[in-house]
Amino acid sequence: MAKVYLQTPLTIEDVINLHAGDEVFLNGIIYVARDAAHKRFLELLDKNQPLPVNLKNHIIFYAGPTPPKPGQVIGSIAPTTASRMDPYAPAMFEYGVKGVIGKGPRGQSVKDACKDHQAICFSAVGGLSALLSDKIQSAEVVAYEDLGPEAIRQLIVKDFPVMVVYDAHGNDLYEQEIAKYRSTEKVIGHI
C-alpha cells in the first residue's frame, strides 16, 4: 500500500502501477460529473457522437458542490455514492476515462470493466466536504450548465487525497478490509 503523487491525465503506466489500498494525491485537472450528466454522456456515446468535454485519460469525480460563498473557489464538495453510476461506468471506461472518484462499493460489472479497460475506481471520504474543497485551486463550469449542481465542472486540484479501491488487476479494497474486521458468525442473506 504505497503513497503516490500523480499528475492528471493518467497514463496506462500510472494505472497499471496502482494497487488497491494505495493512497494517492492527485494533481492537475479532474472533471466533476454525476447522475444527470452521465445519462447524457451515454446517449451521446450510443449515437457515436462526441462528449461535450474530452474525457479520454481523465478522471471523473462523482460530485455536486454547494455554491461558493463570496471569495471562495468552490463551496463544500465530496464524492457522492459511486454505485449510482454503475450503469454508466463500463461504457465510460471503454470510451477512455481512466479513473473515477466516488464513495462506497460498486457492482461486479464495474470491477470487471476496470480490468478490461485498465481503469481505476478511487474513493474519497464521503461528506469530508469542507476539508476537500480546500484542495481545489480552481473550478469552472464547462458544460451542461442547465444542470445546476449537476453541471460538468473542470477542477484543478492540488494533492487531492483519494484511495484506490478497485484497481486494474481485479483487487477489491472493500472486500479485503471488511473481511479483516468482520466478527459475526451469522450468515446474513442480502435483501
Binding site: 469530508l128 466536504s129 479483516k180
Partner: protein, 280 residues
C-alpha cells in the same frame, strides 16, 4: 391565544437550515471521538480523525460540513393555544427553506417532478411533519436529509411470529446491503409497528434522538444495544473500508400495530447527522 406570525416561522426555518448544515451536533462529534477510542482499523481511525477535523473546520468557518445539504425535513410541533397569523403556515416553511438555502449558500438538491427531474433551484419542496401539541409555543426542527443514506433505507412487513429475531435480521440485512454506500459511521433509526406510513415516520423520528440516549422501555433499549453490537460486528467500518465502528448509535421507536402485522423500517442516517431545533 398567543400570536405567532408566518414571518417568524419563515425566519426561524431559514436560520435552522444553515445552522444545521454548518454545525454538526455535539452528540455526533462526541460519537466520532468515542468511536476513535475503540476503532481497530488504522484506515478507519484515519477516516474518523478526518471527520472530526472536517466538523471543526466547517463550524469554525461557517461552511457546510457536507456538500449534500439534503432534502429539508421540517418537524413542527404546534401548540394548540397558538394562533398563526399573516399567511399560510406551510408556505412559510417552504419560504424559510428557500431563504435559508440561498442565504446560507447551501446546495439545491431537489427536483420538482421525480420523473422529469428539473432542479427547482431553491431546495423546495421540503417535507413537513406537523403535530398539534398542548401549549402556546411552536417547536421547529430541521433535519437536512442527505440522499446517499436515505436511498439505502428500507421497510418490510414481517410476520407477527418473526418477533425480535425477525426485526434484527431485517435491520442487519439492510445495513449489510448498504455497506459503504450509506456513508458510515451511521446512525440507525428503527421503526417497529404502526402502519405502512407510520413505521417509516417513527424510524425517521428515531434518527433525531440524541445519541447516547436509549428508549425508555427496557426491552426496546435492549434491542438497541444488541443491534448496535451486531451491526458493528459486520466489519463494514467507517466509509465501508473495514472496521469496528459501522454505526455510532441505534435508536428504535415503536407504535401499536394490527394483529396481522409486524412492520419494520430502517432509516439510515449518514455521519452528517444534522439536526437543529428552535422554539418560538
Amino acid at each position: 391565544m398567543r400570536k405567532i406570525s408566518v414571518e417568524q416561522i419563515r425566519d426561524a426555518v431559514s436560520v435552522l437550515c444553515w445552522e444545521a448544515c454548518y454545525y454538526l451536533p455535539d452528540d455526533i462529534v462526541n460519537g466520532f471521538h468515542k468511536a476513535l477510542e475503540t476503532e481497530q482499523s488504522p484506515l478507519g481511525k484515519s477516516i474518523l480523525e478526518q471527520l472530526i477535523e472536517n466538523a471543526n473546520l466547517a463550524a469554525k468557518e461557517d461552511r457546510p460540513y457536507c456538500h449534500d445539504t439534503g432534502l429539508t425535513v421540517v418537524y413542527a410541533e404546534v401548540g394548540q393555544e397558538v394562533h398563526i397569523e399573516g399567511g399560510d403556515f406551510e408556505a412559510a416553511i417552504h419560504e424559510g427553506i428557500r431563504k435559508g438555502y440561498k442565504e446560507g449558500y447551501l446546495r439545491n438538491s431537489v427536483v420538482g417532478d421525480p420523473l422529469l427531474r428539473i432542479n427547482t433551484n431553491d431546495n423546495t419542496p421540503g417535507v413537513i411533519h406537523t403535530r398539534i401539541v398542548p401549549g402556546d409555543k411552536i417547536k421547529l426542527t430541521v433535519l437536512p436529509k442527505g440522499g446517499g443514506s436515505e436511498n439505502m433505507s428500507a421497510m418490510k412487513f414481517l410476520l407477527p411470529g418473526e418477533g425480535v429475531a425477525g426485526v434484527k435480521k431485517f435491520v442487519l440485512d439492510t445495513i449489510e446491503a448498504a455497506g459503504g454506500r450509506a456513508c458510515p459511521p451511521i446512525v440507525v433509526g428503527v421503526g417497529v409497528g404502526g402502519t405502512f406510513d407510520k413505521v417509516t415516520e417513527i424510524a425517521k423520528e428515531a434518527v433525531l434522538r440524541e445519541i447516547g440516549v436509549h428508549h425508555h422501555e427496557p426491552h426496546i433499549a435492549q434491542l438497541e444495544k444488541e443491534l448496535l453490537e451486531e451491526i458493528n460486528k459486520l466489519g463494514i467500518g467507517p466509509q465501508g473500508l473495514g472496521g469496528t465502528n459501522t454505526a455510532l448509535w441505534v435508536a428504535a421507536e415503536t407504535y401499536g400495530c394490527h394483529i396481522t402485522a409486524l412492520p419494520v423500517a430502517v432509516n439510515i442516517q449518514c455521519h452528517a447527522a444534522r439536526k437543529k431545533s428552535y422554539v418560538l
